[in-house]
Each structure stands twice: as C-alpha cells, then as structure tokens.
C-alpha cells in the first residue's frame, strides 16, 4: 500500500515536472514581439528563467521517489516481465532508469546555464540542455505509464 501511494506521488511529481519543463522549453522559442491574442502565444509568452529552480526541485523529488519504489519494481514487476519474455518492456525501463541517472548529473549544468553568468554567451547550450531534460522527462513519464499499464504494483 505504501509503495502504491509513493508510486502515485512519483506520477504526480512527474506531471508537475512535465508541465514545468514543457512550458520552459516552449518559452525558449517565443517571439520577442509576439502578440498575446492566441492561446499558443500566451503559453509561449512566459519567462523561462522562472521555471529553473522549480524544475531542479521536481527532478530531485521525482528521482528520489523513483529510487525508493525501484526495489519493488525490480522484484514485483521485472521478474514477471522476464517470465513473460517481455524483453522490450525491461529495455524500456532500463532506458528510463539510465536517462534519469544522467538527468540527475545534468542538473548542475542546467542550473548554471539558467542562473549563472553564462546565460547570454551559451544560448545554444542552454537551449539544447533544456530540451534534453524535457526529452528525458517525457520519455520517463510515458515509459512509466506504459509499464504500469502492463503490470502495476497491484
């Protein structure tokens, strides 16, 4: 029961992170003199810098919750996957796990690129690192959802 609650919290943290990192990524491509008549322009017309601290905290919370529930997955979910010969499902989770591990190490660079003195000189780095983080968050969220549909904690 505790693990199910933590899994739900992990999912909710993922939803919040998905929203924040997507909004920040879209904000990277806003036009300087955009009109704010449409929904998409209003969505893009945010200050992406304001999301960085929230994103760092949410990534840490998501990974911490994921790390706590991971042993339950390893025993209660992955072993049945192996028995069902679902190698692709195990592979998807392995990619989620390693992408999450790399995202954790990427956070210091991400934070400096958004808050430090290099924001103007390293725009390409900032844009791509933010998009990498967004890609990892989307990948991890979708894979987690798919695997939970195949076999949850029960």
């Amino acid at each position: 029961m505790t693990m199910t609650v933590l899994l739900i919290l992990h999912g909710l943290a993922g939803v919040a992170l998905l929203g924040a990192v997507t909004h920040q990524s879209v904000g990277l491509f806003r036009r300087h003199r955009a009109t704010v008549d449409s929904f998409t322009e209003r969505y893009r017309a945010v200050q992406p810098r304001g999301f960085s601290t929230t994103i760092v905290v949410l990534v840490l919370v998501s990974i911490a919750l994921g790390a706590i529930i991971y042993p339950t997955y390893r025993v209660d979910v992955r072993i049945p996957f192996e028995e069902m010969s679902l190698g692709w499902a195990i592979g998807l989770f392995e990619m989620k796990e390693h992408a999450g591990g790399i995202a954790l190490g990427l956070l210091p660079l991400y934070a400096v690129l958004w808050r430090g003195e290099f924001t103007d000189t390293h725009r390409l780095d900032r844009t791509v690192v933010t998009l990498i983080l967004a890609l990892i968050v989307w990948w991890d969220f979708i894979v987690g959802h798919v695997l939970n549909n195949i076999r949850g904690f029960g």
């Binding site: 190698g87 392995e94 790399i102 990427l106 660079l109 725009r123 780095d125």
Partner: protein, 107 residues
C-alpha cells in the same frame, strides 16, 4: 578553496556514468530481496537479483567530484562554448546502444 565547477561536474558525471555502466563498475549493489547493500567487488550471495543503478550514480559522482574541484568553471565554459550539450547527448546515445540487447529477442 576554489568553487566547484558545475559544468565540469555534469560533463564528468555523464562520462563517468557511461563508463561505469559499460564496464559494469557500480560502486555498490543493492539486493532488494534482502534489503542489503554490498560493494561491487565483494558481492553478497543473494537469492534474488541485484540492482546496480544506485551504485552507478555513486560511481559517476565519485568520478565527477574531483574533476569539478580541479577544473576552473570559466575555462570549461570558454573551451566548450556551445558544445557543452554534446556530452549528455553522447551519454544518452551510448546508454541506448548498450541497451540494444533488450530489443533483439526474448528476455
């Protein structure tokens, strides 16, 4: 004491993570059946599986921390201007390549 370089830490962490993964060098393993940790070089005789993920992150941190303490932040940013992103991209691609076995046949 110099301030640790965030960029150097992240880049070294990505390299260290991939190296630890490719060479099977997690600092420690976790055994979920028994709830026990053991050093990678002294594995525990478990009845169940072992988990390397925590140990891989620890290995990557262990590799990245001294690099971050030694490398000057400004020099890293200047030398790799607009190329910093290539390291995490390469790390992700390496991990995907190492995991290809899961998609080549039954588990």
């Amino acid at each position: 004491m110099p301030r640790p370089s965030a960029a150097a830490f992240s880049l070294a962490y990505c390299c260290g993570y991939v190296a630890a993964f490719a060479l099977d060098l997690p600092l420690f393993l976790y055994y979920p059946m028994e709830g026990r940790f053991a050093w990678n070089w002294a594995p525990f005789d478990s009845v169940g599986p072992s988990m390397a993920w925590y140990g891989l992150m620890a290995s990557a941190c262990l590799f990245a921390l001294p690099v971050a303490l030694v490398a000057p932040e400004r020099r890293v940013f200047a030398a790799l201007r607009n190329l910093l992103w290539t390291v995490p991209v390469a790390a992700l691609l390496c991990c995907a390549y190492l995991l290809r076995v899961f998609f080549q046949g039954p588990a």
